[in-house]
């Protein structure tokens, strides 16, 4: 009951405690998955509605994240929680926060490049990949080579550093 009037700003702080299940150093807020938090009114009284957006369409983490949001809010005394899934606008790695990018790097994952252009208007050359300039998260070298465009999760590609000889994951710009 104490939580019935919890300010929305406080709810945002709470959800910042939830980490991405596959990359546990980054919060779901830093990843840009939580699009909106709002108090609404259901038949049973006040209710919190959390709007989330999936990263990649098939990413299995979204189900876990939804359950964790509901569990955390229940634990803090908010009984009525609904999760809305929004597909539009489509998630992009441009929504990763600067804080989140730095955490990825510290964890050993090269963060995605920020792309200022609107994706929908991209003139996409479908005949070839433009390999991203990733930097080694360990030594900072840009002398790196792409090993595989698909890594351990849909959001990452596998690179190897020619300077320190370490392989690393790169979070693809998307």
């Amino acid at each position: 009951m104490v939580a019935a009037q919890t300010p929305v700003a406080e709810l945002w702080r709470w959800l910042a405690e939830i980490a991405d299940p596959e990359i546990p150093v980054i919060s779901i807020l830093d990843l840009g998955i939580v699009r909106d938090i709002a108090w609404t009114r259901s038949d049973d009284g006040p209710s919190v509605r959390v709007t989330v957006t999936p990263t990649y369409s098939g990413c299995p983490a979204i189900g876990v994240i939804q359950r964790e949001i509901v569990a955390l809010l229940h634990a803090r005394g908010i009984a009525d929680v609904t999760i809305a899934v929004a597909y539009a606008p489509a998630w992009t790695t441009d929504w990763l926060t600067a804080h989140g990018r730095e955490q990825l790097r510290a964890y050993g994952i090269s963060p995605p490049r920020v792309r200022a252009v609107a994706h929908a208007d991209d003139a996409i050359d479908l005949t070839r990949f433009v390999d991203e300039r990733a930097a080694c998260p360990r030594c900072g070298s840009e002398d790196v080579t792409l090993t595989s465009r698909f890594g351990s999760t849909p959001c990452k590609a596998l690179y190897a550093c020619a300077s320190c000889k370490e392989p690393f994951d790169h979070f693809k710009s998307h």
Binding site: S57, G58, Y87, A90, L126, T127, F129, S148, R149, F150
Partner: protein
């Protein structure tokens, strides 16, 4: 099928979902059988994208139908006559060239269709298409890469890639054959214009096959029927495997 509140829209979305689901299942068959571990991961990542698309499309189809079914019910409890995917995606994996030929010819079509659906006068279709199209752009580049590498590779890889393109070609006609459902959805500002999709597809396929030193096959007799539920034998085996667990324990939750 026809008792849906909007039968044409339901059928249209079902086709999109079934294409993605059946191809995802086919690619999933490569799990632990890829030629190298990176390819194994890549094929299954593409499968995962398509499975995600299938879930979004089928959930929307179920909502349009309004008959109390959900995405799982549509995926696991329809028999092959009720599936509406094009025949191309149900073709068996064959060798790696066969898998890549099927993937490439589908990916180019898929991307062109999704680009148009991004402007659909149906917000949910537009939202799903705009999300999916960026993942599919990755698919097109990847499968095109392989067609080029194998086509412009060794004598053996060239011969196999050409044979794979030739064998898949008669299944491409169905991608562009508009029927009454396509015409209705196009008229309503929702569906893709398959004539312009064909032009886009043809230009890209010719360019990549040219780079790959492969010949563009002549358009001969084209197979069709998948969009109406008339499938090849191959789909039965695929569905039998995909649906077996759900049908063995229909009320199971985990």
């Amino acid at each position: 099928m026809t008792d849906a509140r909007d039968g044409a829209l339901f059928a249209y979305v079902l086709r999109l979902g079934d294409n993605a689901l059946v191809l995802a299942q086919r690619l999933g068959e490569w799990t632990a059988h890829g030629p190298i571990v990176e390819e194994d991961l890549a094929l299954t990542n593409v499968a995962l994208d398509l499975l995600g698309h299938a879930r979004m499309w089928l959930a929307y189809a179920a909502q349009v139908e309004g008959a109390g079914r959900d995405a799982d019910a549509l995926a696991y409890f329809r028999d092959q006559r009720a599936y509406r995917n094009v025949l191309l995606v149900e073709r068996p994996n064959g060798n790696y060239a066969d898998t890549m030929a099927r993937q490439f010819l589908f990916d180019v079509w898929h991307h062109a269709v999704l680009q148009q659906l991004g402007n659909a006068r149906d917000p949910q279709i537009a939202a799903i298409a705009n999300k999916a199209v960026r993942e599919v752009a990755y698919h097109v580049r990847r499968s095109g890469d392989w067609v080029t590498r194998l086509g412009d590779g060794t004598e053996l890889s060239h011969a196999r890639m050409q044979a794979a393109i030739d064998a898949a070609w008669p299944f491409t006609g169905e991608l562009f054959a508009a029927d009454a459902i396509d015409d209705e959805l196009l008229a309503r500002g929702i569906g893709a214009n398959l004539a312009t999709v064909h032009a886009t597809w043809r230009a890209h396929v010719e360019r990549v096959l040219g780079d790959a030193t492969l010949a563009v096959p002549a358009d001969g007799y084209m197979q069709r029927g998948g969009k109406d539920g008339r499938h090849t034998e191959a789909l039965s085996y695929l569905l039998a495997e995909m649906q077996s667990v759900a049908r063995s324990v229909p009320a199971q939750r985990w």
